[in-house]
């Protein structure tokens, strides 16, 4: 059906334009208050002061790119998980991965290992913590039949245990450590080092490509695992690969930007409302929408209470929470209407 393809491409185009608009908007926001004209002249003509250049390219741009990568990764992970679990409350953090990451960071801090790798210590600890959880979950995954519901419960338990453990560690740590852990958990996209940003971008795009290899499998899964089997989907392999992919994307995002919730929960729901449930469009739309959402929330977080920055996780929680309630109500009404 050609006009379906056109409709999808059109949706994607609109989303990309919104993404560029939001990014440009965020690029012009900041306490240094740069006029859009100044920015344009700097980008296009290379004319401007060194300070402006530094602020634009070394502070604001990496932040926006990280927001793009993390927002896209988390939404993508959300789509994958919601397709597999067929549970609307599942999001990347439900599996306990962010809890593991937070625990990794807390343990690394309290054992005084933060000096080990300089700037990369906390992200590495976070990723190690996340990896431990992923490893633990994969023990469950490698049984011959992957029981998703059991995995979900395990993930929720891991989340609880991790948060308690982290609180325990925080209660016995020194003031400096305490702040360090707390602010890492709250999350921030303020990264000026290009290496993590590039890493995040590569991971996000790779994840998107791999996910697309399974877009039909995802469509088939929407009516149940056994039914997908009837349609020729290698269900076990698909579950394993996609679960691993979602976990890695989440683990990386959490390590680099702290715990930013709701992105993976709200975006897929919202996007499916206007783009449909076919994964061929849902994957890319959610990716771009997630990026838009996070960049927007970050723009709000850094400008509402200048010069202090709000934690971006707070903004995504508030905005995301409201959007989620709206989406659920819309869905309930549509069902009732029928």
């Amino acid at each position: 059906m050609e006009n379906r393809l056109f409709k999808w491409l059109f949706t994607l185009l609109v989303l990309i334009m919104i993404l560029l608009a939001v990014s440009a908007f965020s690029l012009s926001l900041g306490p240094a208050g740069m006029h859009p004209g100044t920015i344009a002249r700097l980008i296009l003509g290379g004319v401007g002061t060194a300070t402006d250049y530094t602020i634009l390219f070394d502070i604001r741009l990496p932040r926006i790119l990280l927001g793009f990568a993390v927002g896209g990764s988390l939404s993508l992970a959300g789509v994958l998980l919601q397709a597999m679990f067929r549970n609307p409350l599942v999001e990347p953090y439900t599996l306990g991965i962010s809890g593991g990451a937070a625990l990794g960071v807390a343990l690394g801090t309290i054992f005084g290992l933060t000096g080990l790798l300089g700037a990369y210590s906390l992200p590495v600890f976070g990723f190690l913590g996340a990896s431990c959880v992923i490893l633990f979950l994969s023990i469950g995954i490698n049984r011959s039949v992957l029981n998703l519901q059991g995995l979900l419960l395990t993930g929720v338990m891991i989340s609880f245990i991790s948060s308690s453990a982290v609180l325990l560690i925080m209660s016995v740590s020194r003031i400096e450590d305490l702040h360090g852990i707390l602010f890492w958990i709250i999350g921030s996209l303020g990264e000026t080092d290009w290496l993590p940003v590039k890493l995040a971008l590569v991971a996000a795009f790779s994840g998107l490509i791999v996910a697309y290899l399974f877009c039909f499998d995802l469509n088939a899964l929407s009516l149940g695992e056994e039914d997908a089997l009837h349609l020729g989907v290698n269900v076990e392999r698909t579950k394993r690969v996609l679960l691993l992919l979602a976990s890695l994307l989440t683990g990386l995002s959490v390590s680099l930007a702290g715990a930013i919730g709701f992105v993976g929960l709200v975006v897929p729901h919202f996007v499916s409302m206007f783009a449909g449930t076919d994964h061929r469009i849902l994957l890319a739309s959610s990716f771009v929408s997630g990026a838009i959402f996070l960049i927007f929330c970050d723009a709000v977080a850094k400008s509402v209470a200048q010069p202090v920055e709000l934690p971006v996780g707070v903004v995504t929680g508030l905005v995301g929470g409201v959007l989620f309630i709206y989406a659920m109500m819309r869905r309930a009404n549509t069902v009732r209407g029928k």
Partner: protein, 282 residues
């Protein structure tokens, strides 16, 4: 694109002094003209050194002296706004151990000189840091003068309390949970120099159980808390009628700023206040 980068790097190279790229190690030369302080104590010390007209940025918590409030804000004690800092074009940023590590590294990467001062663990270390700060901002003589004056006053106090009986003192730094100063904190030095004994001196961590306080039965209890909790805390202790400190009405409240984040001068002020509490007659 390459042209932009080239032009920009030339501009950047021209703007910052050649030795600023690496970090704290700098050649003897120009003292910094545009300083940003990322801690209230640092701000206070800079004013004390008379370097305040070179101070271009402070935190939202820098309230002492009151003039500091008028300076540009670049963030709070833990989180700083990198853009604001870059915009102010500082040639020195002085940070604390509470400052977000990612920001410190980020600023260094942008070629800005950053010096981090950790929490001093003793009175001597505090003075050393003050002298270091003075040297860095080019007010070495003033720093030495202040430290010497402070040490003279401390000597006087030491003479005053020599030979006097040393009362047992408990300084409470935190309410829930109860937190005291061990020998790793310079607050401990307050007590020692004022001629008292810190009952929490040898404790392994700062978490000090109330029961333990009752068991030790100190002569004097000093409450050093921030905010409204202080009044309640005093009432809380006064319920323990068995305590010597309660019976003799020796529960004092002291200014947390002076006690916890002192400059050499305010340290001595607080010390004198403490001596009054410990040795009312001396």
């Amino acid at each position: 694109m390459k042209i932009i980068v080239l032009l920009a790097s030339l501009l950047v190279a021209g703007m910052f002094p050649a030795h600023a790229a690496a970090g704290p190690a700098d050649a003897a030369g120009l003292s910094p003209r545009r300083i940003i302080s990322l801690g209230p104590t640092i701000t206070e010390k800079l004013y004390l050194l008379g370097a305040q007209d070179r101070l271009v940025g402070v935190t939202t918590y820098c309230e002492r002296p009151p003039e500091a409030r008028a300076k540009e804000k670049v963030g709070n004690v833990t989180q700083v706004n990198m853009e604001k800092i870059v915009e102010l074009k500082p040639d020195l940023v002085v940070a604390t151990s509470l400052t977000e590590r990612r920001a410190v590294l980020g600023l260094k990467r942008l070629g800005i000189r950053v010096i981090v001062f950790n929490e001093p663990r003793s009175y001597e270390e505090m003075n050393r840091q003050f002298l270091e700060l003075g040297r860095i901002v080019g007010r070495e003589r003033e720093a030495e003068g202040i430290v010497r004056a402070a040490e003279r006053r401390v000597d006087v106090i030491k003479k005053r309390v020599r030979g006097l009986p040393r009362p047992k003192v408990f300084i409470q730094l935190g309410a829930k949970p109860s937190f005291a100063a061990t020998k790793d904190s310079f607050v401990n030095d307050f007590i020692e120099l004022a001629g008292g004994t810190n009952i929490a001196r040898e404790a392994k961590t700062g978490f000090y159980n109330r029961e333990e306080v009752v068991r030790q039965d100190p002569d004097i209890i000093i409450i050093v808390l921030m905010g409204a909790a202080t009044g309640n805390e005093k009432k809380g202790w006064q319920k323990f009628h068995a305590l010597r400190a309660v019976r003799n009405d020796k529960i004092f409240i002291m200014d947390p700023y002076r006690m916890c984040s002192p400059t050499p001068r305010t340290f001595v002020d607080a010390l004198e206040e403490m001596v009054k509490a410990l040795h009312p007659g001396a």
